[in-house]
């Protein structure tokens, strides 16, 4: 009776609004929901704050969204790529804002946002320039900084399989940020390689329970970013 499948990537991203915060799954190309990002480019929403570990490569996927001028701020840990000059050029020209977050802090902030934890302490970045502006606290003799949970209006992620309830499993290291982003998105949108019937996914192996998922669109043969970049593809 419950079926979260939607008919197209365009339908899936139709209500993403100007100024929205959008989490985008993936670490490098593994787990990058390229087809959803391309649908978002077509859709036209702008002034977005995007959360992703990186800033894309080549001129497809996330890099293409940035190049199209739709992203006003990136929250990420590693905005460099061997295969892209899109972010560096915009950053140097002051056209895009960067919030640099250590990778583990980024992952934990996203999980915290999804888990109803407004803030937590971590030793990461204590004594570095990234501590600037953060509250420091000593607990049991060690110094920590306070970090805040991150939430998003929308999360765009990629899964290997889904069922109609939105239960998800992933493929190898494509899992990375998708599970916490699924939790932290008010609306979580999934592109999945295959839709299977309810009950086909072993309840023991489901990584993201459907409660965290709002919409699923089937993209049977998703493009690989590295292949597109090697072929010189640009989007749109």
């Amino acid at each position: 009776m419950i079926n979260k499948e939607v008919s197209s990537t365009a339908v899936a991203v139709a209500d993403i609004f100007d100024g929205a915060t959008v989490m985008v799954g993936g670490f490098g190309e593994a787990g990058s929901p390229i087809e959803l990002i391309h649908a978002l480019i077509d859709q036209g929403a702008t002034n977005l704050t995007v959360v992703n570990n990186n800033t894309g490569s080549g001129e497809v996927g996330l890099a293409a969204l940035i190049k199209a001028g739709r992203v006003s701020k990136m929250i990420c840990s590693y905005p460099r790529s061997m295969n892209s000059t899109v972010f560096p050029e915009l950053y140097r020209s002051g056209a895009i804002e960067l919030e640099l977050v250590p990778q583990g802090t980024l992952a934990e902030r996203i999980r915290a946002g999804g888990a109803g934890i407004p803030a937590f302490y971590t030793a990461t970045c204590v004594g570095t320039i990234l501590e600037e502006g953060k509250e420091r606290r000593t607990i049991d003799g060690q110094d920590y900084v306070l970090e805040y949970g991150l939430k998003a209006d929308f999360s765009l992620i990629k899964s290997f399989k889904s069922d109609p309830y939105g239960n998800l499993i992933y493929n190898k290291t494509a899992r990375n940020f998708a599970p916490p982003m699924a939790m932290a998105g008010a609306i979580t949108i999934v592109q999945t390689g295959e839709m299977v019937a309810a009950g086909e996914l072993d309840p023991e192996v489901i990584v993201t329970p459907g409660i965290f998922v709002n919409r699923v669109v089937v993209v049977p043969n998703p493009a690989h970013e590295s292949v597109l970049v090697a072929e010189g593809v640009t989007y749109p």
């Binding site: 009776m1 946002g113 109803g116 239960n167 996914l201 309840p203 489901i206 329970p209």
Partner: protein
Amino acid sequence: MKSEKPVMGLSRDEMAQRVAMDIPNGSYVNLGIGIPERITRFVPDGREFIYHTENGLLGMGPSPEEGVGEPELINAGKRQVTALAGASYFQHPDSFAMIRGGHLDLCVLGALQVASNGDLANWSVGGPDAIPAVGGAMDLVAGVKSVFVVTQHCTKTGEPKLIEACTYPLTGPGVVNRIYTDLAVIDITADGFQLVELSPGVSFEYVAERTGAPLIPIS
């Protein structure tokens, strides 16, 4: 067991059925022990509710047939249950991330006392000899989007459970959205207890007399 045929107002099953009517299709729901558990028997036609049990199962099904239960497939009340197609198992931190993170649409709980400002007391009578045991109640009321209480309107000794201020230790302050009793459905509003519906054959005065704080009639 309490009688299923009250002199006036709804039976326990009827109360559960009344709550079920108000739950939208596709809701993710956590049900407390007692009357709330009975809601599963009264899902309206055309709707599907997905049940969460905080010990690590989403998509919980009914009790197993006699003799086929499993000691390691239980609910939060530690009774054997089943898992439906589309279910998933997960660890406790993830289960309470669903609760604390506001992902569950609704929890339906019993109550010792509900105050007119939405304060709920349902975990301890606070005596010096009581063994305090809170379980997941405080997490649920702090995290779940909507909190419904379903309870007899009065205690077994006839005292009102809906009152000005709780005397028992709170489960959470200002957390209740709506109360379903044998006598009425009542919302918590900024102005206090707001009557939503009277049970068949029950008068406003009858409910108001048994409510320990002002009851606002339907306007």
